[in-house]
Subunit: 397 residues, 2 copies
Amino acid sequence: MAELPGLSRRRLLGGGAVAAGAVGIGWGASGLVRREPHGDDGLDVVAFHGAHQAGIETTPPGHAAFVGFDLAPGVDRADIIGLLRIWTDDAARLTRGLPALADTEPELAARPARLTVTVGFGPDLFTVAGLPERRPPWLRPLPAFPIDRLDPAYTGADLLLQVCAEEATTVAHAVRVLSKHVRSLVTVRWVQRGFRDEPKGQTMRNLMGQVDGTVNIAARSVDFDRLVWDDGTAMPWLAGGTSLVLRRIAIDLDTWDELDTDGRELTVGRRVSTGAPLTGVDEFDEPDLTAVDRFGIPVIPPSSHVARARHTHDGERFLRRAYNYDDAPGPGQLSNSGLLFAAYQRDVDVQFLPVQQRLAEVDALNEWTTPIGSAVFAIPPGVAEPGGYLGQRLFES
Amino acid sequence: MAELPGLSRRRLLGGGAVAAGAVGIGWGASGLVRREPHGDDGLDVVAFHGAHQAGIETTPPGHAAFVGFDLAPGVDRADIIGLLRIWTDDAARLTRGLPALADTEPELAARPARLTVTVGFGPDLFTVAGLPERRPPWLRPLPAFPIDRLDPAYTGADLLLQVCAEEATTVAHAVRVLSKHVRSLVTVRWVQRGFRDEPKGQTMRNLMGQVDGTVNIAARSVDFDRLVWDDGTAMPWLAGGTSLVLRRIAIDLDTWDELDTDGRELTVGRRVSTGAPLTGVDEFDEPDLTAVDRFGIPVIPPSSHVARARHTHDGERFLRRAYNYDDAPGPGQLSNSGLLFAAYQRDVDVQFLPVQQRLAEVDALNEWTTPIGSAVFAIPPGVAEPGGYLGQRLFES
């Protein structure tokens, strides 16, 4: 610790050497890293405090971990509040590039790399907290769909941590810190890691090669406020929050790869090359589901993914913020790939479910995709000011 | 494919839309992507052809996958040559940002992101190829060390693919293409994915928070030629090649986190904050293993990692190019983290083994680290010109 007084600006900004040590010395709320100009993206900071939690309207960075926790037996409302206070404090520090209190690897906190930490509540948390009447009606497991092959290892959870950053080391450190600081109160049910890479301003591609997420809700738009952020009408505590449906969708790349480009485009209803609907030329052209060719056959097949997934009215829209996953294959397998499909909406039942039900009934893509995990969470609003904690209005209003 | 003639420069450089389609139309050897100026790192190219394989002297990018394959029963020398011709052709294209031949997701090839593909040969490949006399004497499993808890799921293999890039999607696509194109000849034994993040010019940190890889061999140095690249004296076919020892080292972060900073620094022999030896002030200062404090106690404990790992003479040095791993924890666990320790040297027995043996005997760090996977490969030289294939001199000289 002899080095602390000598902490140089170069070392702070270089991000390599933060000698806060095992006691987690706080540096106050000076936001040092944020104030200095720099050319190192690893030092970029996304604000933690605000009306909404970060990590939803935030432009998705390259890496994500979704962690589902179960509350330990005997945990009560006060424990949950304690846990949320710890997570709030840890997240506020880590997202600024500061070590968490008692951070045992403070050096790994020095590169926030646009870190966001987003917390969600599963259905049973409300029972444990003694607040069943405050559980939003849409907060329950999705109905069973015939296409599902759900693995309990990726399904349900009492609490969610969504950790996103541009650097995988930052994600690993934040997940570790946040998990271990509450280990007496929870067990880890699942950790699902993903990635996405996209040129600035373009839409990501999934591991099937498709442009993924074209129909979406623009950040900082009237639609975002209307369709994603809750206004508190039904549940006042949730104003400024939202919901997350997380579906782990396995892709059978072996059979997908047997399909030629025409087959893929008729399956999806879009060009593989550009993401444009088969009736258009640009990715963001509106699909014309009524268009037919000279034989009277629909240009976009009615069973295609685009035709089935398309919202039938404006109220069926939701925010998509998916990540690819590519885990180690099992014995005899070549790949273990898929999509962590993350959908955010004010009301799961009204916005997400009708679309999911249509896709479960008929979607040409279902031949190659299988939902193997599913979880639904209420995402409380953000912490507006230092001093508050995530979910405070649920417990105190 | 109607779009091919209209391929615009914007779309090529944007990387989002390469309409080569399922037939994998070749664009010749024009190296389009490389010639155009651009500001998108995702389009950066590392040359595939050269005296040495890329991915060793190359500055390590953020993501790596190491894939171990076993040759299928009945595979012979001609099959291996065929496989290496396929990998050579695929790698030459993918590393330039071009789809592989018959690439079913050509769009995912459009962002090479400094992709390198490095191929290695395990011990048994030489037997299968009918060339046992050409197997380097050091190419065999490492001796069993008492610290090892090797899992067959991460140990040994007949063939290695090391795939590195700045973007995880690029790694996923390249691994998929290279694996499936030879699937009739091999089975996947293991896939190990890792990441590293470091500010430009600084040394990476592992998930224990330590600076990792300080003692290393500089790229494009006389030492690199002398200590890493084989000169063909013992095995003429290997001139320009090297060896890889890949060790999967699990880290027990739960017990590591119980250790305070002083304890960590005495364990490793370096400052956590800067990576400087306990006898120095800068990361790259030479450790003084003879220095004692006023009580006569060594400043760097003789059992510390630095003291034990230090080369006793210049011929024990090797190149380190490690990646962190952070996989999903098993039931009841909080973390599943560690290091993919990758060491490259001309001679495993002379350079690597003495150091490993010292560490296996005594290393304070062993209390928290456990080797759970181990594999050794001969890395053939590079393909100097288009037309050749990886390992050609092994089979044809």
